[in-house]
Assembly symmetry: C2
Homo-oligomer: 378 residues x 2
């Protein structure tokens, strides 16, 4: 593969497809009417080529365009710009998939650890993994630290900050990371088994760099970022040159409908280096279907040499009781992120905080056991 | 105003609005079911409040939510996260407008120069302004430099890189910026009137910093960034702490439908510091209506103390002949970005490059004259 290919869904009848796809090819490369493109180099080495048009019913067409890879400058921002810069503003076109030539895969690099690296770090070579979130925003660092310790003792593999936890006046980043990492360390000394704590980095590039330095100094096992807030090119730079820690990617601010999840979370998040990708599983608070979830997981885990495989982390209103179903759906190479429903399942009549913590611990242990003993499907 | 308010359009019938808005308030703050939120501080100081629900026909409701400003941590990324992090993934909700309390306006800062600063820089205190783009991608730095010189001699106010021009093997960023800035300088010596050249910065944070340093060393008058590619928080940091140059913001990768242009380009781009905001005017290659364009321009230019006013830069397939209409539509505080149709209008039969350049120069002069003599409306 030497071209960067993009698959678009055009909301036009097949009779208008050729003209619409040609306009798309101009828009994404020269941004000029065809009649104003004279330069021979530009015509031969810059213009996109419409490779294929496939009708999808009476009102839509799949268009496959091929871009010369050199126009991406092998840069993470320019690659997005070529794929879907201007045209993203047009409501009749959606980016649905991409095919990336090896030169660009090598340049952008993909995950540093991937599924196998995460498994090694967690001492879990084959079983499905568990994840939960420290929440809600507004709890003190000490209270979040207590939660982190509880989840670690219950055997959760990855304990992450809720992505709403920022550097708040009512809970600073540094204090939180210290409290949570220490609690996880203490639990590991008790149980002989280490959970990974992943703080959420949130801010502009300067703030992100400061938070990363604090997190690394505290010895965190991983970090989480929201690439659509930080900028997808930041994710690529973070993984390629800024940290050796595993990176979890959270889909906040990814939007709905304009880029298909398979292309954005499945392809681009992996290409840009996410070791694990969080996304809403079907049947929760989000409107994703089983087919969409499968399309994301396939792209995260499928062969895409030389890129390592990324771990799917389905989440978003998943109920504790559905854990076995999810493992049956995804197979063993998955990390189930169960947050809200775990907290809710731990609710009860007793008012005491200690009793509530006991219930949460018990409920979390049940979840961990249910996931460990679930029978992988796929 | 002490709360951060967001206006959402919920695609639900009015009968379901209360429940849907309550779920949105939980999603954007605690990410927990209401029954699992016990902490008094969290209930009083973190949870969003549904302030108002207004039916919009049988299938939609406008919901106004108020967020305690402290949960934004006065941070550019967390502010977006609070406004539309998780919920952006849900297809039944669109962010349509925001109301920003003064503490957050002051913290994020807005434009450094604004309309008045740009006018001072350009020596044009009152008239409508002109802008064009150097294109297409694939031309050599020398050829782009010749174009820059031509546009400067024709009297264009701001000459910007096409946002597709990156740091390519067939045209490096440094060579291009040097060639274009020098050409603009030479033209200014001839004409006694300086145009501003604005190179497009494109890449991850590290690359952007290097490109900015190169551009400043060459003495450029402004820079352009694509905030949705670089990350909106990068724009805020760029303007607040990294450069004193005016910053033009380009809408590439902004998507369609998930955030209303009024909220994203009108409010957020201004809040995060764009001195001028490029967006597609109605009737061109993009599907925006007059009403949408007006909503963006109003938010860029309206009173929003202490933020300076941002300059609307309508573009996107605007024809040379429509320039007077655009000035009538927007009034004098506008910069018309005319690219492709200028190149196209300069087409003719003669094959010689010199003849083509002469035609482009003549056509550009006509445009500049037409805009200067247009009668502002509004």
């Amino acid at each position: 593969v030497t071209a960067l290919r993009a698959v678009y869904r055009l909301a036009v009848p097949p009779g208008r497809a050729e003209e619409r796809a040609a306009a798309l090819a101009l828009e994404q490369t020269v941004e000029l009417p065809d009649a104003a493109v004279h330069d021979r180099f530009v015509r031969e080495h810059v213009l996109a080529r419409v490779e294929r048009l496939e009708p999808e019913g009476p009102d839509a067409v799949r268009a496959i365009l091929a871009y010369p890879v050199s126009i991406t400058a092998l840069d993470p921002a320019q690659t997005l710009n070529v794929l879907f810069g201007n045209s993203s503003l047009q409501p009749d076109v959606q980016l649905v998939d991409i095919e990336v030539p090896s030169a660009l895969r090598v340049a952008l690099g993909g995950p540093r650890h991937g599924i196998e690296g995460l498994r090694q770090l967690l001492g879990a070579p084959a079983r499905p993994l568990t994840c939960t979130a420290l929440k809600p925003m507004g709890l003190s660092p000490a209270a979040l630290g207590r939660l982190a310790g509880l989840f670690a003792r219950a055997g959760i593999d990855v304990i992450k900050d809720d992505h709403g936890l920022a550097d708040h006046t009512f809970g600073g980043f540094a204090e939180r990371v210290r409290a949570c990492q220490r609690a996880v360390n203490e639990a590991a000394e008790e149980t002989g088994r280490a959970s990974v704590y992943a703080p959420s980095l949130m801010g502009g590039p300067g703030t992100l760099a400061k938070q990363l330095a604090i997190a690394e100094a505290e010895g965190v096992g991983a970090v989480m970022v929201c690439p659509m807030l930080a900028g997808l090119p930041f994710l690529q730079e973070l993984v390629a040159v800024r940290t050796e820690r595993p990176v979890l990617a959270h889909p906040a601010f990814a939007g709905s409908g304009w880029i298909a999840p398979a292309a954005l979370l499945g392809r681009l998040f992996r290409l840009y280096g996410a070791d694990a990708v969080i996304y809403p599983h079907s049947g929760g608070r989000f409107a994703w279907t089983d087919a969409v979830c499968r399309s994301v997981a396939e792209r995260l885990r499928g062969a895409w040499p030389p890129l390592l495989r990324s771990l799917p982390v389905p989440a978003g209103g998943v109920q504790v009781d559905r854990a076995p179903d999810l493992v049956a759906f995804y197979g063993a190479d998955v990390m189930l992120l169960i947050g809200g429903s775990l907290y809710l399942a731990a609710e009860g009549d007793a008012a005491s905080e200690a009793a509530a913590a006991d219930r949460l611990l018990g409920r979390t242990r049940e979840l961990v056991e249910a996931v460990r003993s679930a029978v992988p499907g796929c």
